[in-house]
């Protein structure tokens, strides 16, 4: 064993030199396609547009997360109104305190819908991961196959089907409540049940539209990076709506 310990940075520089000596031992490393700004080259200091292969992806993701934050605030506003209304009442003519809140019985189909939405999130994640599996991506980037896009399209179609199923399930739940004469206007509690589920369904419908757009984009878009961005953003949005639903479902099921 050598008595001299090599500091890691020297070790790294040493390896960078021998990276492409023609022996075929390791692939050539090109800084533009390598990764993570190695070798003192901080990509954030590069001109905009030259910050590595994931530059646009990370921009879109950041924009999406700011947008999801706004969506979260939208629901926080509604949920805080939910708690305020649940706790408020009035005094009637006989000085009795009256709280009109009658908890809405949640149709049991919502459990099934939740499971379907969870499954759809899993299949969406499969689509997203398949868009980034390196070996296949390399093939597709070179133009040897479109295996990643095809695989992602298959998973996205599954997600689309499950998402549609969820929306149909929500529709059935509203229908079941209507059959029991529980409507939007019936009670403060039902105001919130319908407001929350419909607002979430609208957001999920946007997600369904994004899925359809991503499926079209997977066929039409010529740039692999654009296809990756489409799938990635759609799937993150889908996950967020799934997570939001679990929170809202728990609130409606146990919080009333």
């Amino acid at each position: 064993m050598s008595p001299i310990l090599t500091p890691p940075e020297i070790d790294r520089r040493h390896r960078a030199h021998e990276s492409d000596n023609g022996s075929g031992r390791r692939p050539p490393t090109d800084k533009l396609t390598g990764g993570n700004g190695e070798g003192g080259d901080n990509w954030n200091d590069r001109p905009q547009g030259r910050r590595g292969p994931r530059e646009r992806l990370s921009q879109v993701r950041m924009g999406l997360f700011f947008g999801l934050f706004a969506v979260l605030m939208f629901f926080i506003a509604i949920v805080s109104a939910f708690f305020v209304t649940r706790a408020s009442g009035h005094f009637d003519a006989y000085s009795h305190y009256v709280n009109e809140w009658l908890p809405t019985t949640i149709p049991s189909i919502l459990w099934l819908n939740t499971a379907v939405l969870l499954l759809s999130s899993a299949s969406a994640e499969m689509a997203r991961r398949s868009m980034f599996r390196e070996v296949d991506v390399m093939d597709e980037w070179i133009g040897l196959s479109r295996r990643t896009s095809q695989r992602a399209a298959a998973w996205l179609s599954v997600t689309l089907g499950l998402g549609g199923l969820f929306l149909v399930g929500q529709w059935i739940a509203w229908d079941q409540l209507a059959a029991q004469h529980v409507f939007f206007r019936s009670n403060p509690s039902s105001h919130f049940f319908f407001l929350i589920t419909i607002a979430h369904a609208i957001h999920l419908f946007i997600g369904v539209s994004a899925l359809i757009a991503a499926l079209i984009g997977l066929r039409r878009s010529h740039k692999l990076a654009s296809r990756q961005i489409l799938v990635d953003a759609t799937v993150w949005y889908w996950h967020a709506m799934g997570l939001l639903w679990i929170f809202l479902f728990v609130l409606l099921e146990y919080g009333q």
Partner: protein, 572 residues
């Protein structure tokens, strides 16, 4: 989502679109305010082609003036307008992060303005419940002529506007975080960018809360829910049919959670610009630069904790009132730090008193005058007397409206050479400044006095109150009322030199030199920097230091984009 190669999605096009929207809104809003002044002073005066202004029409004027000015002028122009025109160049980028989204949000904002203006023409006319639209009177068509379709149109317009502002803010935030050029670290960002950044954070945080409140109000109006309506509420003798124990206070909480940050969205870009312009023309560094960044963020943060001070007289729990009073007064700390930094920056310097510098100084002056009444109104006890008087009108017009407008004029004069290659005329600009300053103070300072005397706001008529004590009290304010009206007309006429200046300068062939103000920030790096360029190639610019590096002796300066060679300041 590919790189954009279209002029329509170019950030300058989008920025000019926003400025045009707010210019149109400002013209309409100004005319409305003059009509209000005319009616207050001469109630018998009849508007040509229309006739007498009825009380409900006066309330419609109040509502539309507030909505137009606050949403479509003070939010759109500084944040979205100049944000798009200047922001990318100032951080060394060539474009905004999402050009198509940017163009779409501009289009939505324009659509929102059209929808809002349509309220004048629907049956019943425009809504009458103020820009704050308090229920229960905003929740039913029974409350007045404009509360039917007019109110629905208003709701639609503001919902569109919220959506557009959120999308625009997402774009601004992503641009600042992700697209900064080489060497542009967070601490080197000009304070204008920090202003835009904080305002965009606030926009993402609060506009969706407003959207949720609007959706619930819509349900109350049309779907018989009772989110904001108490049980057994009588409006105009009719019992409202709905279920539940809603509370108008809930609307106030949601609305002002949006509404107070909204006024910071309007003023933060102006604060940042004032810092930069003062330093630019005083040839000094910004005093306590990092502290100024911190105070910008702190004002934004405290701004979301103070909404309750709008509700002291609305039936808020007194304990909550105390908490909100404390947080409101806490905002005085970062605000005073900002004022002190502005004063320290120009202290004993020999500033070049150009028109943009004058407007920046005017901003400081108005910010102090308007700000001093802030801690007064933050006291629940004092606010109880003052809340529904003109004192509040004076306060927010000075600190938000006038300071905001001065920030906008400062931006226009300062960046005009960058945007149009020509310098606006200095004599006309100084005339414009003097007239606007005198008009602004002449209009809004006396309102403190009428407010202290007890003049209520949102009252359509002050005369004819009978011979009772209230009538006599209002009679005593009438001479001041006349003065305020004359000053308001003077203020409006003081804008004519500005319009003349614009026309004359745009027609002249006298081109400005590059960097005519000896500025140090990146947008002045080269004049053809993004002239019509929609290509997505690197700018080739590197940021080497923070802004405002002027030498101690006041002879030379180092712009952000120069690697080492100092430039000499031109002789006075």
């Amino acid at each position: 989502m590919t790189a954009q190669h279209s002029r329509w999605t170019h950030h300058r096009t989008v920025g000019f679109g926003y400025v045009a929207i707010s210019l149109a809104a400002a013209c309409v809003g100004t005319v409305l305010s003059l009509l209000m002044r005319l009616h207050l002073t001469w109630p018998a005066w009849s508007l040509p082609l229309h006739g007498l202004i009825l009380p409900e029409e006066y309330l419609a004027l109040v509502t539309m003036h507030g909505t137009l000015m606050l949403f479509f002028v003070l939010t759109v122009a500084p944040q979205s307008g100049f944000g798009n025109l200047i922001l990318p160049a100032q951080i060394g980028a060539r474009r905004m992060a999402f050009p198509r989204l940017n163009a779409a949000s501009m289009g939505l904002t324009g659509l929102a303005l059209l929808v809002l203006l349509a309220a004048f023409f629907v049956p019943g006319g425009s809504p009458i419940s103020g820009w704050t639209a308090y229920p229960p009177l905003s929740a039913t068509a029974l409350a007045g002529p404009g509360q039917g379709e007019g109110m629905d149109v208003w709701l639609a317009a503001i919902a569109l506007f919220s959506l557009a502002s959120t999308l625009g803010a997402i774009n601004t935030l992503t641009t600042i975080v992700k697209l900064r050029g080489e060497g542009m670290s967070w601490q080197r960002l000009p304070l204008t960018v920090w202003g835009w950044f904080t305002a965009a954070l606030l926009s993402v945080l609060v506009f969706s809360v407003l959207l949720a409140a609007l959706a619930m109000l819509f349900c109350d109006r049309h779907l018989q829910s009772g989110f904001f309506l108490p049980t057994g509420d009588l409006v105009n003798g009719v019992l409202l049919q709905h279920h539940g124990d809603g509370s108008p206070l809930l609307w106030l909480h949601l609305f002002w959670f949006f509404g107070h940050p909204e006024v910071y969205i309007a003023i933060l870009p102006g604060m940042g610009l004032t810092s930069m312009v003062l330093a630019n023309f005083a040839h000094r560094r910004v005093f306590a630069y990092r502290l100024m960044i911190a105070t910008t963020l702190l004002i934004g943060f405290l701004g979301i904790l103070v909404w309750g001070h709008h509700m002291f007289v609305a039936g808020l729990n007194p304990f909550a009132g105390s908490a909100f009073a404390l947080s409101s007064m806490a905002i005085a700390l970062p605000s005073s730090a900002k004022v002190l930094s502005w004063l320290a920056t120009i202290w004993r310097s020999r500033p070049r008193l150009t028109t943009p510098m004058l407007f920046a100084l005017g901003f400081v002056s108005l910010f102090i005058t308007g700000g001093l009444t802030g801690p007064i109104l933050a006291q629940p006890i004092l606010d109880e007397y003052l809340h529904n008087t003109f004192f509040v009108v004076a306060h927010f017009h000075l600190i938000m409206a006038m300071a905001g407008i001065f920030g906008l004029f400062c931006a226009t004069y300062y960046w005009f050479p960058l945007l149009f290659g020509r310098l606006l005329s200095e004599p006309l600009g100084k005339l414009h400044f003097a007239g606007t300053l005198i008009g602004a103070y002449g209009t809004f300072l006396p309102m403190h006095l009428t407010g202290l005397a007890g003049e209520p706001r949102q009252y359509a008529q002050l005369t004819g109150g009978g011979s009772g004590p209230a009538g006599q009290l209002l009679q005593t304010t009438l001479p001041l009322q006349h003065g305020i009206t004359y000053a308001a007309f003077f203020l409006a006429c003081a804008q004519l030199p500005f319009l003349l200046n614009l026309v004359l300068t745009l027609r002249s062939h006298l081109l400005a030199t590059p960097n005519p103000w000896s500025a140090t920030t990146m947008e002045w790096a080269s004049q053809d920097f993004d002239e019509a360029s929609t290509e997505d190639k690197p700018t080739g610019l590197v940021t080497y230091r923070g802004p405002c590096h002027y030498s101690e002796d006041g002879v030379s300066f180092l712009p952000q984009w120069e690697s080492g060679a100092t430039s000499t300041l031109p002789p006075e």
